[in-house]
Symmetry: C2
Subunit: 339 residues, 2 copies
């Protein structure tokens, strides 16, 4: 069973996978992986993944067979396991608990070579629907306090499989990074009685120098203090603390804006590796006046090195105003016609 351990100083949690128990030589092998023609996420290979927990586009009576347009399966090598109790305990001054959680893979398309930036919007909307459906289902399990959904695209951004997919991890604790974000929002709210994200959206729309794209429901900006060049945040214009609060209009609006943003990014930096993360309120907090869900897109263009590790500072060689202007001015009309 994996173990969750808490750093006694900062309070940061790590997941220790005892099972994998990697020795030095194992790391050398890892770098050689990812070659070869077989893809466990492609249609026809459904039996090589754990049984699916969700599938769209195919009759329900034929699970784990081809014909699906999107499929969600448990991760074959999960960071956390679903069965068991947390069993919180100490080891002297240290704190730990069992690595209980869910780790799922959202297989975003049956087409091995299709990427987010060239996906038709009918396909993309299914991804956002799947995120919602999985969160709503996993939320029923009272052991889970937080669900993070993220995507690693490209080897340099941590993807070990080429086939377009994102991941979901349900956690028994609210992660440090989220708590920090919520505390910051609360501090702002205490002082101003306004949501900081709503204020960011207001200021960005009025300054209009860091906006990448917007539509009726959503806005995409290069944030004022971005960690990486071409970092982009997508935020609902309406105040909303949880992803699952979205209605159908918003889901469509998100799909349209996300599609546009990813096309712009891919045109500016062809096949750039990236990560995106969905930040939504913790599962047990209800609706929050001070928190605002959003998606953070981080292209992988710079290194996290000693300075960043040591200080939490980031050095960014591209001002967000220039990144936003560049992305905004790119001509993506041709790409749109293709779909």
């Amino acid at each position: 069973m994996p173990e969750l351990r808490r750093d006694p100083i900062i309070g940061r949690w790590v997941i220790i996978s005892k099972e994998r128990g990697k020795r030095p030589s194992d790391f050398i092998i890892e770098e050689e992986r990812t070659k070869g023609g077989f893809c466990p996420l492609c249609p026809g290979n459904e039996n090589t993944t754990p049984p699916e927990v969700l599938a769209y586009g195919r009759p329900v009576f034929a699970p784990n067979t081809p014909g699906w347009t999107l499929r969600v399966v448990p991760n074959k090598f999960p960071a956390l396991v679903i069965e068991g109790d947390l069993d919180k305990r100490g080891e002297g001054i240290y704190d730990k608990m069992n690595g209980i959680g869910a780790h799922e893979v959202i297989i975003e398309t049956p087409n091995h070579n299709e990427t987010i930036s060239d996906m038709p919007r009918e396909q993309l909307i299914q991804i956002f629907r799947a995120y919602r459906d999985r969160i709503l289902d996993l939320k029923k399990d009272s052991r889970f306090k937080y669900i993070i959904i993220f995507k690693n695209f490209g080897r340099a951004a941590g993807a070990s499989l080429e086939h377009s997919h994102s991941q979901l991890i349900a956690l028994p604790i609210v992660p440090h990074r989220i708590e920090e974000e919520i505390k910051g929002c609360l501090r702002y709210f205490d002082y101003k009685d306004r949501c900081v994200f709503c204020d960011i959206i207001r200021q960005e729309r009025s300054q209009n120098i860091r906006i990448v794209a917007e539509n009726r429901e959503f806005v995409a900006v290069c944030p004022f203090a971005p960690r990486s060049p071409f970092e982009i945040w997508i935020m609902p214009k309406r105040h909303q603390s949880s992803y699952t609060d979205m209605d159908e209009d918003q889901l469509l609006g998100l799909t349209n804006l996300f599609s546009e943003v990813m096309r712009r990014l891919n045109k500016a930096l062809p096949r750039v590796p990236y990560n995106y993360m969905l930040h939504s309120a913790p599962l047990r907090n209800g609706s929050l006046e001070h928190y605002h869900w959003h998606i953070e897109i981080m292209p992988k263009l710079t290194m996290v090195a000693g300075f960043e590790w040591g200080t939490g500072f980031y050095i960014n060689p591209t001002p967000p105003e220039e990144a936003a202007r560049f992305l905004r001015e790119i001509d993506i009309r041709k790409e749109f016609k293709k779909t």
Copy 2:
């Protein structure tokens, strides 16, 4: 002039290098760098770096000429600049200031191919001396509140030059990551009236399952909740909040233990890329009962991907107990005889 910008939510600072102003195409070129035979850090090429601020092993009347055994120079492409005022100001709800600071390169050896793990201890002690000398000198500048010293070894860990070097950045603010650490230490101290690092050292020495090496003055452990496989912390056994509090005995003790640890690491994972960071108390805080300086060594074996970015959690496939045992049991006697 670079700009320091503060994230309005978390309070994280980033350095925006307007001068570099990288456009998308610049990132593609960057990946091609680092080839070619010319090394600006090698003896004979002193005129290709900014004038040195410190040199050992050579008469002072011949600055910027060969003959040195260690040399410190300002970074030619600094993240922060030394001239100017902070000029703290707002931009609507956002906060920023000028990117004032010092950014120096510690050229650790005149020998291009020598690395920390095969360096004689007479060379290594000079590095730790240089760190101390530079901190003491820069501390006189009242604009600086914190100095971080770090090393990036290997391309994958962010090193852009092969020649063995570390870096120093003096900052006009105490970084978020350090504040977080100090707050955690203070929380522990408030509750227990003891330094958390002193307690960690006490528990590690009594459990004796995560210790990599120790001598009279220092101890090296794989921390209980490590972010990366084979992460190692080196801590002075004596309570001390600042690196510059070290006496000569300790300096020797640190050199010996550091040398042993790096040889063990390099034997376990030959030429593994790594970062190390020196964490010491902020410059203006005086001596702190609750904080304890230390060095964090992070081998680069796993990826920072969407999950880590999104949550601040880390997934570590190697339990620190196994990493420590592996490092402890490695036979490095042969390597020691060579020096």
